[in-house]
Symmetry: D2
Subunit: 333 residues, 4 copies
């Protein structure tokens, strides 16, 4: 593990310079992300904003036919308060926000959305969904349990639903980098970076049959960050489905990453490990704050770090041979 930065971040959740810990076997990730941190810091820092925050679990039930499933959903919509109480009775930190239904014949997929405070919330939403199923089955014994998770949640799968309906923290990080700093630090031009992003991240990913994703390597930085901060690393599957958006502004480079499904927490599994605790403290995510604020701060730092790594790699790929040279240099040292 190595820390890179400082990454300078501006916004309601983070207004700070932070050293970002990245745990990875792929060592070129460190200097590359560090370069991104430097160029964004001299450019005034990365603006980070949390668009949304919720955690989900979809249960799978079966009615005798579609009409019965539809009736059930209509009733549940009227009983949302009661459902909130069912959840609240069992957990102080889990709050039912809303639910969404999908029907396939007589099958019913109910996707519950919760607030889970500073926890990533996998287990909290499973427990809450469990309570909701028990309550539904008492009130509607004709409905059959099929699964506590119907894969419409969806956890750790490449899909479209999480981006559209939300799961985890939806974070946008953005920066405008003066042309001269693109030249000096990134050895490139705003035009070449924008062009590469369009032809590689947008068109290339589309060609590959990519789903709701347009980036070069969000997954790399995200996994290194997740491992270093005690997160469930397998959530990079959906976490890495995100968008770069880059444009020329005047002659400068506007560069942003939108990561709709960052699933992180500052409490829960993995957070009790000493080096994880150290990292979370260093990142300022162990402070006394409103429930959820530490986790959102962590998510913004994750997104800013991803931005640094993405920008640096794209800049490198605008030159033939540079990517390979960087790897060779790193591995020989």
């Amino acid at each position: 593990m190595q820390s890179v930065g400082p990454v300078k971040i501006i916004g309601p959740e983070v207004n700070d310079e932070v050293m970002v810990p990245l745990a990875t076997y792929e060592q070129p990730l460190w200097p590359s992300t560090h370069r991104g941190a430097r160029v964004t810091a001299v450019s005034g820092g990365i603006h980070g904003v949390v668009i949304d925050d919720r955690m989900t679990r979809s249960v799978l039930l079966e009615a005798s036919d579609a009409s019965e499933a539809l009736r059930l959903v209509s009733e549940l919509k009227r009983k949302k308060d009661e459902m909130e109480n069912v959840v609240g009775r069992h957990s102080r930190f889990t709050h039912l926000l809303d639910f969404h239904a999908q029907f396939v014949g007589n099958l019913l997929y109910l996707r519950f959305e919760f607030k889970t405070g500073d926890a990533a919330g996998h287990n909290m939403v499973t427990a809450a969904a469990d309570q909701l199923i028990t309550w539904i089955q008492q009130a509607y014994p004709e409905v059959k349990y099929i699964s506590i998770s119907g894969n419409y949640c969806t956890d750790k799968k490449a899909s479209a639903v999480n981006g559209i309906l939300g799961r985890g923290k939806n974070v946008i990080a953005e920066v405008t980098i003066p042309q001269k700093w693109v030249a000096r630090y990134l050895k490139s031009t705003p035009e070449r970076i924008v062009e590469l992003h369009i032809k590689k991240n947008l068109i290339g990913t589309m060609l590959a049959g990519g789903i709701r994703t347009a980036n070069a390597h969000f997954a790399n930085v995200l996994l290194a960050f997740y491992v270093a901060t005690g997160q469930d690393g397998a959530n990079i599957v959906e976490g890495s489905q995100g968008f770069v958006h880059a444009e020329i502004r005047d002659v400068d480079l506007y560069f942003s990453v939108t990561i709709p499904n960052i699933i992180v927490g500052t409490v829960g599994n993995g957070k009790e490990i000493p080096f994880v605790q150290d990292n979370l403290k260093t990142l300022g995510c162990f402070e006394k704050r409103e429930p959820g604020q530490n986790a959102r701060r962590l998510a913004v730092i994750a997104a800013a770090s991803v931005l640094c790594g993405e920008l640096s790699l794209l800049a490198a790929q605008t030159h033939q041979g540079e990517l390979m040279a960087a790897h060779v240099k790193m591995e020989r040292s």
Copy 2:
């Protein structure tokens, strides 16, 4: 990290019982995967077979128009031998197998496929692609370099191309479990497991807008296995896109996992770390074998481990409340 098993595996690459190391913050993964190991072992073991093995890199070039791009591809098809030589001159272990082209207007995405021996091969294919671009540009100076990677490779993205054209090791692991062992070890029935798989993994994932994937949690086991064996863990993004296929055979349960994109190596980045070396040795993947055989053995073990974890979780989800109870029990102990 903890080892689970032994996992009993049968087939050309592995004919052995192996203890499988899993590094994860999610501790319930260990007993769950272990349960899968036990029930498959008493059922005679898991059959594993490697369907395909190749590593890819797609470069992105630009012609003046589509006709010029088409002419270039026609010429390259005739010069495949020469291209093989270009690759062979720079690396003893990298062999060009084939290439595939995609056209978008005047843009040309060339997806090169290589053998990379026992390495996962990320850097080897980048180096080889670099050589090929240099050679192409000397022969066809009218063609413009855009990127060493056009995201049609595709590395660590949720897409369809890797499953269709192949990237990494395509492995199938399968087992038939007698009804009585399903009852005794998994506390379920073949019928309920098959039903759950269809309604959750197939229909549920489809509903979620999933792309080429039908499983409950391949990502969890795969990441734990990758971290324990020094792999580039971010490759679980495409690695976890795989298929369960389950059926009733007579009264017993046929259960299989098909994982088309396992990207693992026994040499390269991360493999020099002592605990990784220990794990690879224990798994029997540090033997003197034909190049590629150790890596393929590792891939089969990965797939068999994923099968164990998947089977166990699905069985648990056939009962209301069991998943949550297992988590609670684990976390209290």
Copy 3:
């Protein structure tokens, strides 16, 4: 054009036997769909239910940064009543139901959802979205217009959003067919039809990189129905993204189609053509009813017709050689 049936339908929107007009160059579609009509009628008829009904248009706006976009959306959520009035002032039949926002960097995609009465509503939602943009720009001049349609609507594209958030009529049609009628009319068994559906529609489509779709040929029947009833046929692109769900019930066959995006109307473009008017009249969709009821009736008939065609083709494919023989026979006659 030829009419097939009668198709017997049961439910709140249709409780009737209807002759279904299908306009197609693919003549085997007629006897095939007719066979499905016969077997479902003797089995007691097809149950049809409308799960949802709305039409959408997504506008594309640009803020200076993500925070500004987020602020705008927060304000719009508070001003929903005012937005409803903006829409209501310009059209008696268009009602704003809700809206959904997606953010990419500083880009903002607002997906408005409307009721459009008996019209499919393409133009009504465009007009309403136009009014809403004008109103937004007056109130928030800092926001820049990019497009009246940001492809997040989404109209006539293969995607996931319409199925998840809804566009058009979401209809489920279902039937239970006694084993003996499956044998007599379809020359097959419930088991073989269910098996084929799983291996072809679910697994095969997943393998193909299919997105939110699991059927054999919804597109064929839907297009023929759309052309015969004056619909915008290009809407089969998303309309054909739907799900078969089939199971054994006792020894009989439960067979259903779920079609979330049927976009049809009984007024508007194409409906003034005499043969279209005749067809809509025959289908009972020109009656005096509450706004929207005629269109929903039409959607249920569409779904029931798709069920007939799907069931018949699947049954045919359970036998080697039958599909080809049917084509040969038809084309020689």
Copy 4:
């Protein structure tokens, strides 16, 4: 039906000005596509090139386990000549080009690729696949027939496989339009059209969970063209999955459409209808040519027409209010 144009096309398959027949209920399509025809003609015409041409059918077989399926595929690869003969014995016009295999557990999906001359080839490939299954089952009686079509073909489904492996004619049409003609005919600028394409077609479609598609309304023009020329219109489902690629060249607009799956023929179902024959004759697709040349000519004309319609609509959407105004004007006249 109305004809628009003339559309001026340059290239090996078409070197001509053609009036393009479009059959649609959506009348604004005519003047809009006509505008595209005019501006491309004054700009020197549209260059059209066929990248690939093949038709496919995927059969679905079942082995006892994955190893047996793998052995079968290895044998088939060695017996390709024999398989070509099996196909050739039954049809003069169907030629087996290649095949591709996918494995899921013990399931085997074989996707056969054929040349089918001037026919779209749906029935020809079904007949050929039928013969191949019969031949396989005689040689390998242990293999079980599941379906003549395993949905991996894939016919009329929104997926990724057809674009990646090819199905139908892969056609690129491109044009460079001087800035002044963009201003005069399209009332827009190259910059605004490129910007709109990126933000709407690329980013917007990605957001929607779109799969391998980036365009505004390929489906509209394609369906109108298919109906007017006697094609199987339901093939617009995959046919409309295509890419716009647009860039500024100097100050002018480079604009292209890449449509990888145009499935059209000049013989077969629907082509015997008098008005279809007239249309095909007018388009010059009833000439004495090498088998396949008439169909490829038709495909290039289809792509050029799609380009005209796409360019015109995008230009219209660069102005707020213009799209709606055009519809209103058209519908009042």
